[in-house]
Symmetry: C2
């Protein structure tokens, strides 16, 4: 975990963060800031960024691709330029090149651009090569057979956790099926599970830097309260969240550790409060999931 702190990059400085404008179908089923979590702060400072090894045109290209992070429909060239913080000419060249390679496509109606299917090839590479995903997948499938609820694997990425493997239950919303979706560490069951295995100062640092806007009226946003929850999690060996990200959702998170005992991800079981009392949910699902999390961990 400490290995990569040298190469850091705060991409948020260069990618503008416009307010998300809710207007599409799933916005009514999910609080509109569900996609809010941002990629991990990597804080490569100006010094590294101006180093002779840093390829600025590539940086711009990735900013162009990232313009879609805040989009909810196809983007025009000017919109891409604006979102990416580059001028129209640069956007034009980058889009042209990315399009030639399949990383950007045209929208179905011919107006505007959308992410290209070739991106999914890299998704596969990531999932295939990640040792955690490799190890977890069969175990998660076993677990899913026993507990008939949603089961996920999420990966720790600083202020957020990113869903990498998703096994569905019958009740689903759009976002709860998508790989790549992420939620903040500070208020998710996976986040608490991971934070509970991190040193205190690291936890403080993460909470301090987190954008702690609530997802539901019940989202815990005050640091003392979060710390309390994390302490509970630490004592129990798992995290239990009610109504934190989604109203009516109950979720349990279990830390997954690497060989040196550092948390690298979490597995989750999530159900509906309409079907479960918290007690039943815990009694029924926790033991199996705990066992699964231990089996995946290498510590």
């Amino acid at each position: 975990m400490h290995s990569d702190t040298a190469a850091l990059y705060d991409y948020r400085k260069v990618v503008n963060r416009p307010l998300s404008t809710a207007k599409h179908e799933w916005d009514v089923t999910l609080p509109r800031n569900t996609t809010r979590a941002e990629p991990g702060l990597r804080g490569l400072t100006e010094s590294d960024r101006s180093g002779p090894l840093f390829v600025r045109s590539l940086e711009k290209a990735m900013q162009v691709l990232s313009a879609f992070h805040h989009a909810d429909s196809p983007l025009s060239l000017s919109e891409i330029a604006e979102q990416a913080g580059v001028d129209r000419s640069t956007a034009q060249r980058m889009v042209h090149t990315l399009r030639a390679m399949g990383y950007i496509g045209r929208a179905a109606d011919g107006h505007g651009f959308v992410p290209g299917i070739r991106l999914l090839d890299h998704t596969l590479d990531y999932l295939r090569l990640d040792p955690l995903v490799r190890r977890a997948t069969p175990i998660l499938q076993e677990l899913r057979k026993e507990v008939r609820e949603r089961v996920d694997l999420s990966l720790f990425d600083d202020l957020r956790v990113v869903y990498a493997v998703r096994l569905q239950s019958k009740r689903q919303t759009f976002y709860t099926t998508l790989v790549g979706h992420s939620v903040p560490s500070f208020c998710s069951s996976g986040g608490w599970a991971i934070l509970s295995r991190l040193p205190n100062d690291r936890v403080r640092d993460i909470l301090d830097r987190s954008d702690r806007r609530p997802f539901t009226p019940h989202t815990v946003t005050e640091i003392p309260e979060i710390l309390e929850k994390i302490a509970e999690t630490s004592a129990n060996g798992y995290a239990l969240t009610l109504n934190q990200i989604l109203l009516g959702e109950i979720a349990a998170g279990f830390p997954v550790l690497d060989a040196s005992g550092d948390p690298v991800g979490a597995i989750h079981v999530a159900g509906s409060l309409a079907e479960w009392t918290p007690e039943d949910f815990v009694n029924r699902n926790i033991p199996l999931a705990l066992e699964a999390a231990r089996a995946i961990s290498q510590y």
Copy 2:
């Protein structure tokens, strides 16, 4: 569908295709060439590639990222350089930059590089913004409730179809859960379903350009026979494959059409020949899936 044929790019000319060396766990459960399908031929010719709008450094960067397509473990800089067809210095600069942005990470043991988690952000963008994925997800979930087998949505990409939504059954292998996985059009149920809605010369062209190596002893590889299967598919309105990609697998594929009637993807139902006779499989699952495919189509 015909809109984007101007921007073409044959990335295979620049990315070497080494033989895949099987040695990891899932290679024993799957034929080793299951990942063989290559990203769609986009054949941007030298003319476009040397145009003043084409950013060569970006091309090299993406080739570097694509080096992982043929990897089954972390890659060293030299390996990346070799796979990507660039010199070590270029690989160094690209890796440095991509790493700073989170698109490449170090392997857990500190030796070599692996794809970075930030790639999953773009996965999410792709899935969120693709109209087909949006429309299909809830319908696929409905369908999954009825037929208790594996249900997928795949997207047409020239010589291959790419899995974008995957709803599991109890019996699973590693690859059958991963988004981004792709299989050739010429021998998959989704591929046949799509080809059955394409004009004849287009089908011929695709078959001619396909690398038609068999996946199993039963894979249909001869063009006349494939054409026959496609004709059947066309007559039935769905494709039925036995042992084509995976031994013991039976799969049905259903074309999904866009507003102008062109096929843009397919949905699948897949089961095990150990549990189903083909007749039962057809009788039990086809009607529901056909209806689902129609509901997703916009034609």
